[in-house]
Every structure is written in C-alpha cells, then in structure tokens.
Symmetry: C2
C-alpha cells in the first residue's frame, strides 16, 4: 500500500526528498501534493516532479484528506507553526532538522503529536543509513569493547549563505550543522545523560554563530567532543573509540562506508538517477522507507530518532547557543 505524501516547501532539500522517494517502489510511496509560500513555486515544483496538486501556503495541504504524512522542509523558524498546523489537521509529520528553534517549541510539537496519536519525527536521515544500523549492531555486540570516546566535526564554508548568517532565518552553525554532530554522539552513547556540557564558539556581526565546539562529559569515563564550523571544510568524519578498537565513519551525516580498525566496509547507496542538490540525497529514501514502515505499524515514533532523543537534541542545541551567546526571538 502506497503511503501518500504531502510536501511542505519547494526548496532544495524538498526537491531532494521527493527525488529520493522516486528511488523507492511507486507501490509504496506516492507524492500527492506540494505546498509552498507562493503558488508559482509550488506549481513549478509540482510540474518538475509530476505531483497532482499544488497549494499556496500550508493550510490547504493540512486540509487535504488525501495526504497521510507531510514532509516539512520549510525554513527553521517556520517548523513550529507548520508542524502544529499539520498535526492539528490530523497529518503525520516528518520535519527537517533542527526540529524546532528551541526545546520549548520541540516539546509543544511532540506533546501535540502524542495527544493526537500522530507520527512525528525529526528528519535526521543519517540514522536511517545502513552504516548507522550496522555500527549500532557492532556497538551493541561490544566489538569496540567499552566505548570511551566519540569525536566528530562537521563543516563547510557556508557562513555567508543567507540561511546560515541571518538570525531571522534561524541561522548559525549550531542549528544547521550542530544538530548533526550532536545526533552522532547521541547515537554512540545512546540513552546516557552527560554530567556536564561545555561549549564555546564564535559569533558573526549579526549575533549568530559561525562555529561552535562542545565537550559532553558522560559518566564512567566516556566523552564526546563535537565541532561545527561554517567557515571551512572540516573532516566531516565521525570517530568512535573503544577499549578494543576504533570505528571511523567518513561523511558521517550520510555515510556509505565505515572502517573498523582500518578495515573498510562499503554500503552502496540506493540507485537513483534523479537530480539532487546535496550529496548522497538518494539516501533520503532510507528515511522515507523508515517513516512508511513505522506509520504502517501504527507507531507514532521512529526507532531511529525517538521523541526523547529529539527533545534531548533540542535541549543541547539550546545549551550550545546559550554558551556561545546566540539568542533567537523565539527564545523569549
């Protein structure tokens, strides 16, 4: 049975998500409607992707009885409003990361989904890649012994991009890139609560962060060290060190390989000849497939990205912003 998707946003990532879905069986996924701020954009997107319905604004999408689940790819400051709208109209939701501007918003969104018994998930697509599933298995089996350390840095020279540099667009390295590094170390130390979170960074003239680094100190000698940086291309590698060995994950946010003590294992990406804006976006199909499986099973929470994890991530993002001095209007 095909899951019937609506798409909120006609932006680059929405393009990639819809294209990613095309790599999956048409019998399982169908995109039935697209909504954007302007009808012209929605129409253009619909035409490009052969989507039957195009809407101006998100209300009609929310009211479209044919739509089961909506992928939300709007700008960060709009997530809260659009997700609440959709949930209030009975739609399941997959919302791009960061889920919200702050923990307060995230909690309200998840509380509403629970109240309405609707699926909601923060679109941390990384978690749905086969590499993450395999590494999870290795960690659970104790292949690394006791995991002591996780390190990851993530960055590109994007500090001058509007979406990143402007406070009113919910900018900053922390929200855009930081969510990825935090989810990585959360994945490694799943279920543990740090005893201390230290962070520091650099702000641009507009008061949003160009870079930030954090140390998360966990009990029992475990540490995560994470960095995001919008001013240079970082190594973009995740490293997990245990008493018995090391796992390295190149391109940790959308990985197609990992190495265990130097032995590389490759995972070919879903075949997809579509036009993508971002690297390895065919892998968005893994996420869409996970959403379908979860919704069909009647659950409202993905096993890959639980609600508790999303709330924890939102709290950590708040901490990183607080320590580096980034304040958004939504925080007041």
């Amino acid at each position: 049975m095909a899951l019937r998707w609506g798409i909120a946003s006609s932006g680059k990532i929405a393009n990639d998500f819809v294209t990613g879905i095309k790599g999956l069986p048409a019998s399982e996924h169908q995109v039935v409607a697209i909504a954007a701020r302007s009808l012209a954009s929605a129409d253009k997107f619909a035409k490009t992707h052969n989507i039957p319905k195009a809407y101006e604004g998100y209300e009609q999408l929310a009211k479209d009885a044919d739509v089961q689940v909506v992928y939300v790819g709007v700008l960060n400051p709009q997530h809260y409003e659009v997700v609440l709208l959709l949930l209030n109209h009975g739609k399941h939701v997959l919302c791009e990361k960061p889920f919200a501007i702050n923990h307060k918003q995230a909690k309200e969104m998840i509380d509403l989904a629970k109240k309405k018994n609707l699926f909601v998930m923060e679109a941390i697509w990384s978690r749905c890649f086969p590499v993450y599933r395999e590494v999870r298995k290795l960690l659970d089996e104790g292949v690394l012994g006791e995991v002591k350390y996780a390190a990851v840095d993530f960055g590109f020279p994007i500090a001058d991009v509007d979406r990143i540099k402007n406070k009113d667009l919910g900018g900053g390295a922390i929200l855009d890139l930081g969510i990825y590094i935090l989810q990585f170390q959360q994945f490694v130390f799943r279920g543990l609560k740090p005893v201390k979170v230290l962070a520091s960074g650099h702000l641009n003239d507009g008061g949003v962060d160009d870079s930030a680094s954090a140390i998360l100190t966990y009990p029992n000698g475990k540490t995560a060290v994470v960095t995001c940086n919008a001013t240079a291309q970082m190594t973009n590698e995740g490293v997990i060190i245990g008493t018995k060995g090391t796992i390295r994950i190149p391109m940790f946010w959308c990985p197609t390989s990992y190495s265990l003590n130097g032995q590389v294992k490759e995972f070919p990406l879903i075949e997809n000849n579509g036009n993508f804006n971002y690297i390895n976006s065919a892998g968005l199909g893994y996420e869409a497939a996970d959403v379908r499986k979860t919704i069909l099973s009647g659950k409202i929470e993905s096993e890959q990205v639980t609600h508790e994890e999303t709330l924890q991530l939102a709290a950590w993002l708040d901490t990183l912003r607080k320590e580096t001095g980034v304040v958004f209007p939504a925080d007041s």
Copy 2:
C-alpha cells in the same frame, strides 16, 4: 666539537634518548656521565650504553665539570628540584615534558636559567621532527589559507600504569599526554592567546585524571579542540583545517609523514639500529641535534620550544587540572 651530555635518570625514556644520540655523529655528541637514584641502576645503564661515569643521585652529576648539558628524564615531581640543582651548578638543561608540575615551578626554573644565562628547554621532541618544520613552513606560506581549526587526540590504555595512576608520581593523562596535545595546537596557532579555555575530564579513585578534553577558543574564529585519554588507544592524529585545505599528521607526537589535502609526504626517520622502548625514539636525535646547535650558537632558548611557550603550556596544564579537579601537593 662534541657536546658533552650528562643523563639524569636511568629510566626507559633516558635509555631511548641516549640510544637516539647514537644515531648522530660521535664527533658531535658524547654522553660522559649518567646519574640515577641508585648507583646500581646508574652502573647498569652506564655499562649498557658504554658511559664512562655513573653517579648515585644528581649532585655529583651537577658538579661534574666535564658535563655541559644534562638531559633530565626523572619522574615529573622531581623535575623542579633536579633542574634547579643543575642550573645552580652551571649546567645547560634539556628537561622532559611536562617541564614542571605547575606554572609556578616552571617560571622559577626558567627565571633561574635566564639569570644564570644557561640553556634550558622543555623536551618537546615533536617540534624537532622534520614534519613539524615542513608544516610550519606550509602554514607560514598560507598553503591552508586562514587556519580555522586544530584538533588532536592522544591516548593509550595506560591508566593502570603506576606513573600515570598515582598522584605522588605526578600522574594523570593531562601531565603525561596533555602536554603533547596542547603543544600541538600551540604550534598551529603560534603566538596567539586564547580568549577562553574550557576543559572537562574524568578522575580515577586516587584523584588524578584518566582523561581530559579541552576547547581553546582563539580570536578571529579560530578554535582548537584537544583530548587526552589514558583508557583507550586514540587516533593520535593531529588535524589542521584552513580555508584552503587540511593537513593531517598521523602519530603527531613523533611523525614521519603528513598529508596535505590527501597527498601524503613521508620523512624517513634517522637511521638507528639501537634498542628503543618507545616508538620512533630514533627521532630523539632531532631534539639532541637542535639542543647542540642552539647551545653552540650561544642561545639559551630553543626556537622550537621557546621559554614563553613552555610557560604557556604549564599555565594551560594548570587550567586543565583545575577544571577537572586534579590537585597536586606542589600546587599548595
């Protein structure tokens, strides 16, 4: 003209230093005396290495008119006392890292050397490797553009070794391993002062640290993230990221290669068939050669490890210990 060395300590690292010297021309370096806490140890060491004189305790070594410079490889808590003794008897000194237990001791040692116009250097042998000299050149030439980020981790599973786990031996990952990671980022951001230093770690039951991580936030968007860990084998790689590329230095503390944007360049180690305890110890010859060159030129300070850098490193070690809660008797 041969520089006439005395050796204070008959330990593993002293063995490696003396063996390292053997890789250099005998016309340039000569080991004339060895002193250890017990005469038996000194005698044994002298026999092994064919050293003419062996002393019990360090006073006779200090008074030996034949000795020009002393390599100090005693345990951390003894550095201060032994170095002061040697300087007071007019010897030049190369003292193992960490130079002292804290900044207060380090300052007193360096002040005395200056007053006596004697050479003194913290034995950060890493700095004397050809890789460091080449990387210095690349950074100065701007090959990486503007350097934004330095990251390094350093660790081995040595938390149960007496020297590391015991407070009265000046133990802890910070003193033993932390000095290396701090000197690495200092090398990268040479001359800059951080605006903030954050650190966190884990203590063992005896109150010394098994691990520590720190973020050093520098002006103009520059950041260093460093980790030392005595509970697991870390990646032990130094990474330098600039706006135009990345340098990686495997085995950053005694490197024989680096890569610039993935291009590897190798630097063969000094040929040496001696028996070493530690990896790449033949490279201690680079350090000995630098000491000779500096002393012969009449200078009291190495260009590779300046007095100011040693004092800065000592201050950072104090900060890391303070933030993680490690207090030594010498701190009071």
